[in-house]
Amino acid sequence: MTLVNERARLLANRQVGPNLFIMTLSSPRIAATIEPGQFVHMTIPAFEAHILRRPFSVYARDVEAGTVEVLYQTVGAGTAHLATLLPETGAGFESELIGPVGRGWRVPQGCARALLVGGGVGAAPLFMLAESLACANVPFEVVLGAQTQAAHVCRDRYDALVAQAQACADAAPRYATDDGSFGRAGFCTGLVEEALAEAEAAGRPYEYVAVCGPEPLMKIVSAMAADHGVFCEVSLERRMACGVGACLSCVVDTVDGKKRSCVDGPVFEAEKVVW
């Protein structure tokens, strides 16, 4: 898996929810090779005093169009600035992406059933995984949590994918919102526990859980998966300088010592993580 540093044009950049945006970038080489769970390390255009790149997971890609989509939330200076960029402008429309970076989701060989849990923008890095499970005819279920109904910006795509996926049959995605405006009220961990229990009760336990979202969510879901004896992976976010494994700024404590989340992760086996 060779890394490239690809000049990418910003083709679209639109608001899709509260503080949530989707940008589309033309980046054919990365679009062609990126795997579920990997990310791109991106320069923010016209932002010269902020010298570091920003890491973003790829939400979706279109190999033929040579594009990648990133779902992002405005949390600080860089993402706020990104949100102001218009695709058609002369200045500031071009970025550079290093990618595909990191170790993505590793669904065990022959996995018979999988559970995908996404909190907030964590729904995005799981979507390509869902697509590849659907493609491989692996049954999977989806639990997504967000603060409000409006923040469930990936819902249409997940609903459509699951509806089409033969292996998923009638298992529509389960949704939770913190404010109760859509689906289950409260955190999505309740839905996860239910899903785990139901699957077990039905004699078709999950063989894989993938979680992406806020660290507390990932920690709780990891513990639930461990209780049910299900192999679980999590995607960890750390501040990154190089994004290629050279600087050791992004280390994660694991039972095997400190690991670089950029290239040894971002996806780690939940059991190995020292929370």
Partner: protein
């Protein structure tokens, strides 16, 4: 095309550009982007005898035109370097500078001794490490401890010995002279400036360790000034660094007195930065009709 080769205190470099220790690992991570053996040298991450864990996270913070790091010299130890990295570097044909760290004067010497049989072209002794045999102070801040550590490293090797200075001192020339008098073949500067970043809303330092080392374009003026001061103070060659991003930046350091330069934080901004600096120096020499890049060293006029 002009001649880009330089000699840094006995280290022959095909061009004046290496990378700053700790920003390039041992080169492998950047080999996808360009052939790292095209650099004048690859400088490896600081290595200690048995390996260190480094500091808690977060370890970096972005600051205006710069960054702070408190990696804390995490490294797997000299044996790992010998087994995994140095053979790879030799394989791809890279000129190799190993950056040496220690918690004590003895440890510096032990690291060098452990490397004497390995394919290493020069040592860079990082004397900016806190908590060594010098009473809590960074050894690089006092002439006595600088002389001591350099003298002992000098006795341990006949290879080119580069001594890397910290900029957090009142008078860098005093430290440079101490290093030179104790046997350094070259002096590299600057390491990072001590700094701090605070998250106003959380009322906490951004770095877990509180303070960290400032690097990147923000520090370039300080680095250039110190290179210029040392150029006027010592006669050994200088390896200049601090915020270099482009060939033009590199030329500025050479004009101030550097024989070679290192690209550090810029690697994070652009993974091809180091090789682009080589090409930028080349382009400058072509445009300015400089036949031999050594003509630029200290060629600042007033």
């Amino acid at each position: 095309m002009g001649n880009l080769a330089v000699n840094l205190g006995g280290l022959a470099m095909k061009n004046p550009v290496t990378v700053a220790s700790g920003t390039f690992a041992a080169g492998r991570e950047y080999h996808d982007f360009f052939d790292v053996s095209q650099l004048g040298a690859v400088t490896t991450k600081g290595v200690s005898l048995h390996g260190w864990e480094g500091n808690a996270s977060p370890r970096i913070a972005e600051t205006p035109s710069g960054m702070l790091n408190s990696i804390g010299l995490q490294n797997p130890g000299v044996e790992h370097l010998k087994e995994c990295d140095l053979p790879w570097l030799a394989d791809v044909g890279a000129t190799t500078i190993v950056n040496v760290s220690g918690h004590s004067f003895d440890e510096y010497v032990q690291v060098i001794e452990a490397l004497e049989e390995a394919p290493v072209d020069a040592y860079e002794v990082n004397i900016s490490c806190p908590n060594v045999d010098a009473g809590g102070m960074t050894i690089g801040c006092k002439t006595a401890s600088v002389e001591e550590v350099v003298r002992r490293c000098r006795e341990a090797t006949a290879r080119p010995l580069i001594v890397k200075l910290t900029p957090n001192v009142t008078d860098i020339t005093e430290i440079a002279r101490a290093a030179e008098s104790a046997g350094a073949d070259a002096i590299s500067l600057i390491n990072t400036l001590l700094g701090m970043a605070i998250d106003a809303r959380r009322r906490r330092p951004v770095l877990a360790r509180g303070v960290g080392g400032l690097s990147g374009p923000a520090v370039k003026p300080v680095a250039l000034r110190m290179v210029w001061e040392c150029h006027n103070a010592v006669s050994v060659p200088l390896l200049g660094m601090g915020g270099i991003c482009t060939g033009e930046d590199a030329v500025e350091f050479m004009l101030a007195g550097a024989t070679a330069v290192a690209v550090g934080t810029a690697n994070f901004m652009n993974p091809c930065a180091a090789i682009e600096v080589v090409r930028g120096i080349e382009a400058y020499c072509d445009e300015q009709r400089v036949d031999n890049v050594t003509e630029l060293i200290g060629a600042l006029t007033w």
